[in-house]
Amino acid sequence: MDAYRRSLLKAVGAATALAAAGMVPLRALAAMSRPEKAFEATDPQGAMTALGDSAAESDQIELETPDIAENGAVVPISVTSKLPKTTRISVLVEKNPNPMSAMFMIPEGTEPFIQTRVKVAETGNIYALVEADGKLYKASSQTKVTLGGCGG
């Protein structure tokens, strides 16, 4: 287990316990676990490495993205993980200056599902990175960004 995840688990565990006891603001839970290195990485591999061990491709992750983006500034995505004990879902956009876009922590009692909208600079892959039972898995899907016009 890498150092980042070890500290994250420790922090989440501690924060949850404290939060339950009403001793720290709940906000602190998220604050403690921001993977700065991943957000600063300028290529998807760099971001993934910062998040942990290399991720295995998985068909148990359903990543839905549009085939063609209507507007590269607003691209709807949804991720559903069928992997047992899913605890984190991250979203990366391959061709963005900083591919790491978001990380969602999924506590027990919340479905391993998220839906949001991201900016996509140009045609390329969108990745969903899922941590389940302490291991990393990934899935990808291509979204095309086009100039438009001329159809019909």
Binding site: T16, A19, A20, G22, L26, R27, L29, A30, A31, S33, R34, P35, F39, A73, V74, V75, P76, S78, V93, N96, P97, N98, M100, S101, A102, M103, F104, M105, I106, P107, G109, T110, E111, F113, I114, Q115, T116, R117, V118, K119
Partner: protein, 103 residues
Amino acid sequence: MAGRMRMRARMSGDVAEVKVLMQHPMETGQRKDSEGKPIPAHYIKEVMATLGDRTVMAAQWGAAISQNPYLSFRIKDAKKGDTVKVSWTDNKGETASTEAKIG
């Protein structure tokens, strides 16, 4: 700052589906204004959702989330009438929160 968020929470089968819209520019820091001056980065970094004492979603975001962000998630073990609360904090330390009863 409740005006800066809209939220809907509804039971769908045995899970509560929560949808949130947050009013925010989500500036990346890489754009320039009409005079060519860089527009400073301004984006939501953290989002938290709770159901009573329970944290049901915690997220860390970069500036690549679209302007006026949308987020949807689904809570198990929730019931009609429960209150879901969602809050965000941006990179300038501004915050907003809102809550809704599950319908």
